[in-house]
Symmetry: C2
């Protein structure tokens, strides 16, 4: 519990009750979380608070946003050393079309890609869609 507080403080985010709960929730889930998921879990809290909590977490480098092609923004906790703002160290994401869950495949780094003349890469996003291990067995 105290550990989460420290983590938040290290990232310059005030460890409020709500934020600790959301962080804990995301840490327990292994999959990327949508705002709706959090809404359905914390029904007493206001949508805006949850929304802004995610935004704050993202700005402060606590979570990274994932665009898995469903047009619903999802978020996952950054692992230690998850340089999600640098284009050198991007991992890929897997979206299961059966259970609709998205997971970070942190072990899989993106290969370097040579762009045509004049193009400057700042960020990259690779999503593989298919059937996840839970649904394929």
């Amino acid at each position: 519990m105290k550990e989460i507080e420290k983590t938040l403080e290290n990232k310059n985010v005030r460890p409020t009750a709500m934020r600790i709960l959301i962080y804990k929730y995301m840490a327990e889930k292994e999959v990327a979380i949508a705002l709706t998921d959090i809404e359905n879990t914390f029904t007493k809290a206001d949508r805006t608070t949850l929304y802004r909590t995610l935004k704050t977490f993202e700005e402060k480098g606590i979570v990274h946003q994932i665009d898995d092609g469903t047009n619903i923004s999802k978020y996952a906790l950054c692992e230690p050393g998850c340089n999600c703002e640098l284009d050198q160290d991007l991992h890929l994401h897997f979206h299961c079309s059966n259970c609709d869950e998205t997971v970070c495949l942190t072990a899989h780094k993106l290969p370097h890609i040579n762009l045509p003349e004049g193009y400057i890469a700042e960020d990259a996003n690779l999503v593989i869609k298919g059937i996840c291990d839970k649904c394929s067995s």
Copy 2:
């Protein structure tokens, strides 16, 4: 002109006036097109028609949908041999954060990616964000 009609017929899509116009519009543009773009171009036509035209084009393999991370669906004509439904032959997309345009980099194929045990890939989507050649010069 007749060429477009033939293309549509080959894909089992009736070459109506509207569809030919939209196809022509997309062929002239080198960038991926959003529904809004088409709306602003063909103001006399109904939004729904344009929307359904894109859907039809997508289903029949005339265009492929691109998710560039802006949460706005964009579309681009499939090139001959654009096996966008197969995960072997996927090209990548580049989204410029300055001019907000998205282009297909068809020459750049995705490297093969080994997924963990149990994961079955069906589709993939790689978007690089940054500054495009027009904006960087």
